[in-house]
């Protein structure tokens, strides 16, 4: 079995595990109950998604798919920050 | 250099140049603070647009075939191309000239305005969008240009930001407008999905070849995907919804009476006179060139035509009836726009598959002639009445009473404009309505033909109310400032002369316009449209095959 096939098989094996985790995160994100809960769930989901996207780019044999992961991680952090600001501050600009 | 590939730089340069002019304007605001500069800048670029648009018209007439400009040098289905036939060239000249007059009027109008630099930027953007919509030969580029046009229009409607009605009208216009263009995008997805191309000429070619039983062969976009009939029908249905929204046809007219009056007066003129034309233009382009009488959608197209005829009548009646009860002058004019759009749609919906080509082109000629008349007349009215509104600071007809006495010259021009829209004999409006009536009769549509007269008759009430109010009643309030009106006076005078000329020279004008329609929408016209595209593509294919 060549390295290529072995890596692909391996990623196929972890594929369902990741998907199960995403669905569980999504359940929490939809359930809430509070806003920080939802954002935290999206947050955790997306950082894992970023990791998974990198793994998937090996699966698809297209390394150029990588930048998606970094952009996703960056903007999810920004989402955290402004939800936090929304909850905390009186004015978004202060 | 092959003759087929003659590069019409004036076609390609015009619209990007205007866009670039708009891009650069905010840069100058950081350096130059004098208003004169911005006046001159905007006037200069709109003059350039006028010159180039006129040149394009002359060029189209001289070449005798649609002008094709391939951006980036890529052959059409691969790249974007502008394809200007006589129809779009005529509308281009109309747009550029009315827009030039509107800009000239704006020089006076903005004399006390704060934020005029943003106003001018948006006005240039509006002109870019208008001309781009008319010249483009690519359905997706049409979507982009529609957005350029729309976003400038939303922003200009909301320009008086401290007036609640203005902002609300812009919101209503904007949110449904954005939905409409998104729906149009879905239609494009269907078109690309089924026909595999976005170029107008290519779509026209394919839709004709399917009927002829020949496999759809096109140099760069061979073949079909899925069920082209359903996809194209759906695409037409969706895109017509978007276009009739832009044109403010009856069920989609609800935004217009709010949005048009609330904009600054020159912008009202542009919106009512020019922006709605784009909707009309796109409908004509889709129903006559892309999926024309020879296309594979004949039965569906006929149904659409009938629907448009009914909606046109409804639009005409609703506009005319509601116009009579308005007390706000600009709102009255806006309802008049709805009514006239109804008439124009009646003209363009004659060409079902059952009528002969001659009658169809006659109807289209009437629609085009009426479009021209309506644009000039409506822009004249908005600007003429706008002078009084600006002087007295109100739009209420009661408070404006007698204001015509302030400037008999402007009042005279306004009366000419009203007569034009009413359809009084020596003016253009009369002849276009007559032509419309005639074409409806020839198509055997007696009831709609009678309704044209009924609509005109109903609308006369509203117009007479304004004329009477402005002219015959005594002046109630003293004006703020009357001096220094040379510019608006010149503008309305020019437009009034144009109205008269459109009427007096009617045989000539009709001849010219009929020639344009014949060159664009008869069977041979559409074939020319396709051939311009094909000759380029075939040249490239030959080159690739040989090298």
């Amino acid at each position: 079995m060549g390295a290529e096939e072995q890596v692909t098989m391996f990623i196929m094996a972890v594929f369902p595990i990741y998907m199960a985790a995403f669905i569980l995160y999504a359940v929490r994100a939809v359930k809430g109950p509070t806003i920080p809960d939802m954002v935290l769930a999206i947050d955790a989901m997306t950082f894992d998604l970023a990791a998974f996207l990198v793994v998937l780019s090996i699966f698809f044999k297209s390394p150029i798919l990588i930048p998606v992961a970094i952009v996703l991680a960056l903007w999810i952090y920004a989402l955290d920050i402004y939800v936090a600001k929304y909850l905390e501050a009186r004015e978004m600009g202060e | 250099m092959s003759e087929a590939l003659y590069v019409y730089q004036s076609v390609g340069v015009l619209v990007p140049l205007l866009g670039g002019a708009a891009f650069a304007l905010p840069l100058f605001t950081l350096v130059i603070k004098r208003k004169v500069f911005y006046d001159a800048y905007t006037a200069f670029f709109s003059l350039v647009a006028l010159v180039l648009a006129s040149y394009n018209y002359v060029l189209v007439r001289a070449e005798g075939k649609p002008l094709l400009y391939a951006f980036g040098g890529w052959p059409p289905p691969l790249g974007i191309s502008y394809e200007v036939d006589e129809f779009s060239a005529v509308l281009g000249v109309l747009t550029a000239s009315v827009m030039f007059l509107i800009v000239a009027y704006s020089l006076w109008y903005t004399r006390f305005m704060r934020g005029y630099e943003w106003y001018y930027t948006l006005l240039l953007g509006l002109e870019t969008g208008l001309l781009g919509c008319l010249y483009t030969g690519d359905v997706f580029n049409l979507f982009v240009m529609l957005e350029v046009l729309s976003i400038s229009a939303y922003a200009l409607v909301a320009f008086y930001r401290s007036r609640p009605q203005a902002v609300e009208a812009a919101m209503k216009y904007g949110i449904i407008g954005a939905t409409a263009t998104t729906i149009y995008f879905i239609a494009l997805v269907f078109i690309y999905g089924a026909l595999g191309t976005l170029n107008m000429a290519d779509i026209a070619l394919k839709s004709r070849l399917i009927t002829a039983g020949v496999g759809p062969i096109s140099p760069f976009s061979n073949g079909l995907f899925g069920n082209a009939f359903i996809a194209a029908s759906l695409a037409i249905a969706l895109s017509l919804w978007a276009f009739t929204y832009k044109a403010a046809l009856f069920p989609n007219h609800f935004w217009l009476p709010d949005a048009h009056p609330e904009a600054p007066t020159p912008v009202s003129a542009a919106l009512s006179g020019l922006v709605v034309n784009v909707g009309v233009y796109a409908v004509v382009r889709f129903l006559y060139t892309l999926f024309g009488p020879k296309s594979f959608l004949i039965s569906f197209r006929d149904a659409v035509m009938w629907a448009l005829l009914v909606l046109g009548i409804a639009s005409g009646l609703v506009g005319a009836l509601l116009m009579a009860v308005q007390s706000d002058v600009k709102r009255l004019l806006a309802y008049s726009t709805v009514s006239h759009i109804g008439l124009i749609f009646m003209g363009l919906s004659i060409g079902t598959s059952s009528v002969s080509e001659d009658v169809a082109t006659l109807g289209l000629t009437a629609a085009l002639y009426h479009t021209v008349n309506h644009s000039v007349g409506k822009a004249l009215l908005f600007m003429g009445v706008g002078v009084f509104i600006n002087l007295l600071g109100t739009r209420d007809l009661d408070k404006l009473s007698g204001s015509g006495k302030l400037s008999p010259l402007v009042m005279g021009a306004v009366i000419v404009g009203f007569l034009q829209l009413m359809g009084a004999p020596p003016l253009g409006g009369f002849f276009s309505k007559l032509l419309l009536y005639q074409s409806l009769i020839e198509a055997g549509l007696i009831v709609p033909a009678v309704l044209v007269i009924a609509i005109s008759a109903v609308s006369i009430l509203g117009y007479l109310k304004v004329i009477y109010g402005l002219w015959a009643k005594p002046l109630k309030e003293a004006p703020k400032q009357v001096a220094g009106m040379a510019v608006p006076k010149t503008v309305v005078l020019v437009m009034a002369v144009a109205c008269i000329a459109l009427g007096v020279l009617s045989p000539m004008v009709t001849g010219l316009l009929a020639g344009s329609i014949n060159a664009s929408f008869t069977d041979s016209g559409v074939r020319d449209y396709v051939n311009s595209f094909m000759s380029f593509a075939i040249y490239v294919v030959k080159y690739l095959g040989g090298g």
Partner: protein, 87 residues
């Protein structure tokens, strides 16, 4: 026989359903902040979908716009206006 392609299609189907649930909740939710966050979930599902449909360019545009900018702008807006949709 399930192939690799089936897995990708399956994930796409799951993402479609997730986005549908999130979109319905976003439209029906009365608390606008929660609606924004639901629409962020929907956008995340779409972004993943674009990735699986081999459109990294679109994902790269879509993520800043739909996950980053829309929620930010709308949250700014909600902060300045009102949080609950009237009934």
């Amino acid at each position: 026989m399930p192939s690799y392609e089936t897995f990708v299609m399956g994930v796409l189907a799951i993402l479609g359903l997730v986005s549908m649930v999130a979109a319905i909740l976003a439209i029906l939710e009365r608390d606008l902040v929660k609606a924004v966050i639901f629409s962020a979930i929907q956008s995340t599902a779409y972004a993943f979908m674009y990735y699986l449909l081999m459109a990294p360019d679109i994902a790269l545009v879509y993520i800043p716009v739909a996950i980053g900018l829309y929620p930010a702008v709308v949250l700014f807006l909600i902060k300045k206006t009102e949080r609950y949709e009237g009934d």
